[in-house]
């Protein structure tokens, strides 16, 4: 039953005009096609040159459960999630009451006028949208009506805020990959909504968007999973095996999508990469290990439950010393957790994955460019170190669209590590030991199956082995092997991507964080700086840590370790690895399924420092 009350638009004279600096929250039901409308809004704003980000808060469901999409516009280029909503779009009856509460005082609520609305707040402006009527008037094919209904709010927002129609049209064409008919149907709905809004809503005086320059030029809009997939394809990927799991599936699907364009052999027309959907994550990882052992660059992508299943293979790759790459696009755990919400809760699990004494190289990309670069770097490290490398991304980085520099082509040679060819073996007269530390860096030489030399073969096993790969239960052999693996881990410290450090003169407080927290940390630091507190910042890009982390901790009076999990997992690893400075390390950890906000980060630091005084 509709109890919509049409109100005349009222501007709040006391509200300052916000140009390109506010947040829109769109509440819809999952599966209603809002991904299209929200993506089009985001892209149109991006193409107007406005720094934006879009965070999709979606349920683990195909149809019906509530979904929110938060678009933040920030003329100053702050791209973290914002906690406050200025403009609330309500398209979902099940959440409309609480959604209407989200808008800031002085904000705007747009809502589908068929939704049951009981109360109106006095401090916000309401615009009921006759969604059903407008859809009906458009006389669209019946099956499409539900999907284009969301284009109504795109049109109303366009008129209300001043989003350029041409950019909406271009974004639709981009979304439908040039299919003019599909784009046209949607555009028709947008135009009808604009016409209606011109008459009934008008342009808002408080919130406006305006074309701007200086930020988005030359940049692309991309999600981290696509970036990682492209990076892997550009980085020599030969086998990708995977099992569907949110939020990583889109990475494997991107590998599949772009492989024909990027990795079709010109001479034969055949593919130079194989993509295999495995029967489960164990098999996916087994395929990676088998291919890595054979000399191909292989990866799998998964999320928390997947790495749990891969744990045994992780130990085998570590101990039998087989190059392998896992991309873990983190979501909320433990267990099934919140499959569609972001988290950084797998840091511990990834670093120590498997049983016995295991530690792995873990990479933390913070943005799409790093996802792209680590696509190749992970393979280089895995082959140079003959071990498992885990890339820890997360749902926020992996699935949400981010403004990014375009990815740079590199023809730098791949680092394939220490591999003996048949000719090498001939030179050594066949004398070699698979697990012998010839160079003192803990990394031994390997041969690949298929090497045409009768001394090439060795036997690979997860059981105890000596320098020649023969089965051994001798305590000395075991200890010697683990000592070498420790030396290898020291080599890994030197080879892993270095942290990015921003030392601010006069600062006494240091921040250590990682991955997708970056935007929140940077904005948080700006807030703190405004309040008179300058901070230095080390963004960790890999485990194990190197000397630069120790010296950073050394340089500051107090350090805050900021991460999106509940237990402060990175904090605990740092205190273990730097016990002498453990008391300087303070944990700021939050785990609620949302990307960390600048407000949270700055307030936590301020509060902790006040308590310290």
């Amino acid at each position: 039953m509709s109890v919509a009350v049409r109100e005349a638009p009222i501007g709040r004279p006391d509200a300052p005009a916000a140009i390109n600096d506010f947040a829109i929250n769109v509440a819809t039901a999952n599966g209603s096609g809002s991904q299209t409308s929200n993506g089009v809004l985001l892209r149109a704003l991006f193409k107007m040159g406005i720094p934006i980000n879009g965070k999709n808060l979606f349920p683990s469901n195909i149809q019906g459960l509530p979904t929110w999409y938060i678009i933040r516009l920030s003329k100053d280029g702050f791209l973290a999630r914002r906690e406050m909503t200025d403009i609330q779009v309500c398209m979902n009856g099940r959440t409309v009451a609480e959604d209407m509460e989200r808008a800031v005082s002085g904000g705007i609520v747009l809502y589908d006028d068929s939704l049951p609305i009981a109360n109106h707040r006095k401090d916000v402006t309401y615009y009921p949208m006759p969604v059903k009527e407008l859809v009906k008037e458009a006389s669209l094919p019946h099956a499409l009506r539900d999907y284009v209904a969301n284009m109504v709010y795109v049109g109303v927002l366009a008129e209300l805020l001043g989003i350029e129609t041409a950019e909406i049209e271009a974004a639709l064409l981009h979304h439908f990959e040039g299919k003019e008919k599909a784009a046209g149907l949607n555009m028709e709905m947008v135009n009808r909504a604009i016409d209606w809004a011109t008459e009934h809503v008008g342009q808002h005086e408080g919130y406006r968007v305006e074309r701007m320059t200086g930020f988005n030029e030359g940049k692309i809009l991309v999600d981290g999973n696509t970036a990682g997939a492209l990076g892997a394809l550009a980085g020599g990927l030969s086998l990708a095996s995977w099992y569907p799991i949110t939020p990583s599936s889109s990475m494997a699907e991107s590998v599949e999508k772009y492989a024909p364009a990027l990795r079709t052999d010109e001479d034969t027309g055949k593919s130079t990469v194989a993509v295999i959907q495995a029967e489960d994550e164990l098999a996916a990882m087994g395929m990676v290990v088998g291919a890595g052992w054979t000399g191909a660059r292989a990866m799998t992508c998964t999320s928390g439950p997947g790495i749990s299943l891969m744990a045994e293979f992780a130990g085998l790759a570590y101990f039998a010393e087989i190059p392998a790459v896992i991309w873990d696009i983190q979501r909320m755990g433990p267990s099934t957790g919140l499959p569609t919400r972001t988290s950084q809760g797998d840091i511990h699990a990834a670093y120590y994955l498997s049983h016995g004494d295991t530690r792995h190289v873990v990479l933390f990309p913070a943005n799409p460019v790093e996802c792209f670069e680590f696509g190749r770097v992970a393979f280089d490290l895995a082959e140079e170190l003959q071990t498992l490398v885990i890339v820890l991304s997360d749902l926020d980085l992996g699935m949400n669209q981010h403004i990014s520099e375009p990815f740079e082509y590199s023809d730098a040679p791949f680092k394939r590590g220490k591999v003996l060819s048949a000719e090498d073996l001939e030179e050594r007269q066949g004398s070699w030991g698979r697990y012998m530390d010839v160079d003192g860096d803990g990394v031994a030489y390997r041969t690949l199956p298929g090497t045409k030399h009768n001394m090439a073969a060795y036997f690979t096993r997860g059981t105890g082995h000596n320098e020649y790969g023969y089965y051994s239960e001798r305590p000395e052999d075991w200890e010697q092997n683990l000592e070498r693996l420790k030396r290898k881990f020291e080599t890994a410290r030197q080879l892993a991507p270095k942290p990015i450090v921003d030392d601010v003169e006069g600062a006494e407080v240091g921040i250590i964080s990682l991955g997708s927290n970056h935007e929140g940390v940077e904005e948080g630091r700006a807030r703190l700086a405004n309040a008179g507190l300058s901070t230095s910042y080390l963004r960790l890009r890999a485990l194990p840590i190197d000397e630069s982390v120790r010296s950073f901790i050394d340089r500051y009076r107090t350090i805050f370790v900021i991460e999106a999990n509940s237990d402060g997992q990175l904090h605990s690893i740092l205190t273990t690895e730097e016990p002498a400075q453990a008391l300087k390390l303070n944990s700021i950890a939050k785990c609620d399924g949302l990307p960390l906000s600048a407000r949270f980060i700055s307030e936590q630091i301020q509060q902790a420092l006040e308590e310290e005084l």
């Binding site: 980085g235 086998l239 364009a261 395929m287 052992w293 791949f414 690979t460």
Partner: protein
């Protein structure tokens, strides 16, 4: 000198006098050996290892182009005991098929032999086993089936006989899984059952398996002399000898030899995808190994009658393999140069333009 010692000495003298026999690629059989076995004396698995050595030698396999993979268990230790010039991988319990998949896709020119056991394939690894079969991987999948866990000392596996009693475990009251039946239902393209105590048949099957196009599943009853070799066990030497019924006499003729076999009334020749022919002299006139339904019936009959019916139960050379379906380069992916493993600058720029 005792008579036995004299005989041994005489045999040694004869061996030394005889010129060493070499195969197609000029190697003696000893070149196909592995490390000494550490299994129990009399273990069926050692007999299977010897058959692999013989088959590989007689077929003239280049061991550097062979890899041998296994899971975990007594059977999975055996790849160390044959083909010493081949890369070997003793992987994880029940996970050999996935490792083999990765190896095969990474290097499609390798001949891949996977060895597993009944615990490894029918218990912990049944999922990976069936999916490897479903994909028709070009893989020789040997199950050394003894109905019992050896390395952990005598527990029942999923192929143990219903009603069987073991010393420490007591009564097994669950029905067994049948490896051949599971393989068939997963659309296997080569299903054979044999017996570690039937060397001639087993070698012929192994040779055929080497030249089979897709996956070749060999369920080999391979008695565990320590934990499960009493006569009431269908996985014992005694039971096998007393109850083996051969569906046919098998002979594998490689392509480098001419077929010289006298005409036989119920003879069937099957040409293998990778060369050579397997010639079956039917002992059971009703069984045609190209007929899937007949294969089901034979397996069901062996279960109903509690007989060890051996031979090539089913074969088809028609279905494409997994590597063929992937449409990857003929050059093994693992051997492609960097230049083939990265996109051109233009290709990447094209993709970037689409994202702009």
């Amino acid at each position: 000198m005792t008579t036995a010692a004299r005989n041994r000495a005489a045999r040694a003298t004869r061996r030394a006098a005889r010129p060493a026999r070499t195969n197609l690629i000029g190697l003696e059989k000893t070149s196909y050996r592995g490390r000494p076995s550490t299994l129990c004396k009399g273990c069926g698995h050692d007999s299977v290892s010897q058959r692999i050595v013989n088959a590989a030698w007689e077929m003239g396999l280049d061991q550097t182009q062979v890899v041998k993979l296994s899971g975990i268990g007594c059977s999975s230790k055996t790849p160390a005991y044959y083909l010493g010039w081949s890369h070997g991988f003793n992987s994880l319990h029940g996970r050999m098929p996935s490792v083999a998949t990765g190896a095969i896709v990474a290097n499609r020119s390798l001949e891949v032999i996977g060895v597993s056991g009944d615990g490894d394939s029918a218990s912990i690894g049944i999922g990976q086993f069936k999916h490897a079969v479903r994909r028709n991987l070009p893989l020789i999948y040997i199950v050394e089936n003894n109905g019992v866990y050896g390395l952990t000392k005598g527990q029942f596996s999923a192929t143990a006989d219903e009603g069987q009693v073991l010393k420490y475990q007591g009564l097994n009251d669950l029905p067994p899984l049948d490896i051949c039946m599971e393989a068939l239902t997963a659309n296997a393209t080569f299903v054979a059952r044999s017996f570690a105590g039937d060397p001639k048949q087993l070698e012929a099957l192994l040779k055929a398996a080497i030249n089979h196009r897709g996956i070749a599943v060999l369920d080999i009853i391979s008695p565990c002399v320590t934990f499960n070799n009493h006569d009431t066990s269908t996985k014992s030497y005694g039971f096998g000898r007393a109850n083996e019924i051969r569906l046919h006499d098998l002979n594998f003729v490689p392509e480098f030899e001419e077929i010289e076999i006298e005409e036989y009334e119920d003879e069937l020749e099957v040409e293998l995808h990778d060369g050579g022919t397997i010639i079956l002299k039917k002992l059971d006139p009703d069984h045609n190994p190209k007929d899937r339904t007949a294969a089901y019936n034979v397996i069901q009959r062996s279960l109903d009658e509690q007989k060890l019916i051996t031979g090539l139960l089913y074969i088809s050379e028609e279905e494409p393999t997994f590597t063929e379906l992937l449409d990857i380069t003929e050059t093994p992916l693992a051997q492609l140069p960097d230049s083939k493993l990265r996109p051109s600058r233009e290709a990447l720029e094209g993709v970037m333009a689409g994202l702009a």
